[in-house]
């Protein structure tokens, strides 16, 4: 229960910062100023937006399928929020440390699609319906390359446990029960003979341990943009053609929930990318002979320093990725439906399949 509340609070905080950042970043990239009036530099803007939304009338269209319409936002948010349960925030802080976290996460996020379809169908509005169908088609398709990219990580790491994958990517490797006698080799290749177990830092991140995961990371990142309906894959809510997509009929609190779910999805996919590819809560600084940067910036497990450093690195890496998401949104134009499907089925999926094969071979080199 405590973990639930803490995660919810943390998530709300991040989403509010993110919504503000989105507007500011968008403005700066377009040579505008963004919010300036509410609070210093407009920093209270998103808080006020939420307050405004909460005061609004909760309209349920007369022709809507009321049960589906009312249930959908809750289902969408619950599906996304449930994904946070297996995210390790620090070396010893994870809301629910289950052994098959990766699998659980992929499964629970797919539920999102059901909620979207309920929202689109229940609204009884053609824009909502179109938006929901596009959204479902897109998310279901892009789950495949994303899943394959994740699978190659799982093969390299030989684990479905987010916490174990995290431990593998840093100087704390041998502190995880069951990994006491593991070693990290440079690029994961033992034959090179360079032991990086105690060097840590960026050299033990997954994209460095097995450089082909860099490709997997790019694939996963592109797919994750599509899964969270972000530009350039935002045809489900394409403002210029569908008004707002599946949530066009929602207002007030329900809209706030949908909005929250959308931003939570962004945060979640970025967190997963960081955990699987970018060293999770591990520091990027390696130990260099006597300068033990990695040890200094890791803290001690179980103490406050470990918690602070861990969450600091995890969140700052996540924010870098989130910034990249925002920047991509304000840089690239929206893809057409056929281009979207082309990219997914004819480019990303074959490459990801090849990656899975290569990851298997790489794993054989690692042991």
């Amino acid at each position: 229960m405590l973990a639930f509340l803490l995660t919810l609070m943390l998530l709300l905080g991040i989403v509010i910062v993110l919504a503000y950042a989105e507007r500011k970043v968008a403005a700066f990239m377009q040579d505008r100023m963004g919010p300036t009036e509410a609070g210093p530099y407009g920093s209270l803007q998103s808080v006020l937006d939420v307050l405004k939304l909460l005061q609004k009338e909760d309209i349920v269209p007369a022709a809507a399928d009321k049960k589906l319409f009312k249930l959908a936002p809750i289902l969408i948010f619950a599906a996304v929020f449930a994904g946070f349960a297996v995210i390790p925030f620090t070396p010893d802080l994870i809301p629910a440390g289950i052994g098959i976290g990766v699998f659980y996460l992929l499964a629970i996020i797919s539920l999102d699609v059901v909620g979207l379809l309920m929202a689109g169908w229940g609204s009884n509005n053609k824009y909502a319906m179109l938006g929901a169908m596009r959204s479902v088609a897109q998310i279901v398709s892009y789950e495949i390359p994303a899943g394959l990219a994740i699978l190659s990580v799982v093969m390299i790491c030989q684990s479905l446990d987010f916490q174990e994958i995290s431990y593998q990517q840093g100087v704390l490797l041998n502190r995880f029960p069951g990994l006491e006698f593991e070693t990290n080799w440079l690029f994961g290749i033992e034959a090179l003979g360079i032991n990086t177990t105690n060097i840590g830092g960026i050299t033990t991140w997954n994209i460095f341990r097995a450089p082909l995961l860099l490709v997997a990371f790019v694939i996963y990142f592109i797919a994750s943009l599509a899964e969270s309906n972000r530009a350039p894959f935002d045809i489900p809510e394409a403002e210029s053609e569908l008004v707002a997509g599946f949530h066009v009929e929602y207002s007030g609190f329900r809209f706030a929930i949908l909005f929250l779910a959308e931003y939570s999805m962004m945060v979640l996919v970025s967190l997963v990318a960081v955990i699987l590819f970018l060293g999770s809560w591990n520091t990027p600084l390696p130990n260099l002979t006597t300068l033990k940067f990695a040890n200094w910036t890791t803290g001690t497990i179980g103490e406050l320093s470990g918690i602070l450093w861990g969450s600091f690195w995890l969140l700052s890496k996540t924010f870098v990725l989130l910034f990249l998401q925002l920047q991509i949104r304000w840089t690239y134009p929206r893809l057409r439906v056929d281009q979207l499907m082309h990219l997914c089925w004819k480019v990303l999926t074959p490459v990801a399949l090849g990656l899975v094969l290569l990851a298997g071979i790489w794993r054989l080199l690692m042991v």
Partner: protein, 187 residues
């Protein structure tokens, strides 16, 4: 393709990085007005504003003390937005600042700024230069009635008084005339 994708990202990143530079509120007469290589283009308007040119045509102002109520402005106005009523003065009411003698009161001198097209014709014909354009351009109103500007310096009571004075004078003059006429007839 990767190159064009990266150059796109580089472009937005450059704009993001230059977001600490701002447009300065320089007037249009300034040489740098059209030259802003980088930085935010927004001006936070009520706090900063671009100075307007001196010969700009904005809200009208009538210095009623200098107005001789000649009605020229109302006649030239292409949209008929100036309403003037005049009352002849019964006594000497002085001069305008450029030495023209004033003979009329203006109980009504209204300009409807909502109708005005800011052509400036009225200011050119005004013989005493009392009707002028000010640099004020931000005068939106919630109620459109407030867009009608009243420039008269007479209160309604004073206006009534002046009208009665004029009527009395005219009566007296008419009486005097009638008396004179009668006297002539008797001769």
């Amino acid at each position: 393709m990767t190159k064009s994708l990266l150059s796109g990202l580089w472009l937005t990143w450059r704009h993001f990085r230059n977001a600490d530079k701002r447009r300065a509120p320089v007037p249009v007469m300034d040489g740098d007005y059209f030259k802003q290589p980088e930085g935010l283009v927004t001006l936070t308007y009520p706090y900063e504003a671009i100075p307007v040119p001196e010969n700009g045509r904005y809200r009208l102002h009538n210095e009623i003390d200098d107005c001789i109520v000649c009605d020229l402005c109302a006649k030239i106005c292409p949209v008929n937005c100036i309403t003037i009523e005049s009352v002849k003065a019964t006594e000497d009411i002085g001069m305008t600042s450029d030495g023209t003698k004033k003979r009329l009161y203006a109980p009504v001198f209204d300009i409807d700024m909502a109708k005005c097209c800011y052509c400036g014709l009225c200011t050119t014909v005004c013989p005493t230069d009392c009707l002028t354009m000010t640099p004020v351009y931000d005068f939106a109103e919630v109620d459109i009635k407030n867009m009608i500007y009243h420039f008269t310096d007479l209160t309604p009571e004073q206006a009534d008084e002046k009208k009665q004075l004029l009527a009395k004078q005219q009566e007296e003059m008419a009486a005097a005339k009638a008396a004179a006429l009668a006297a002539r007839k008797q001769q």
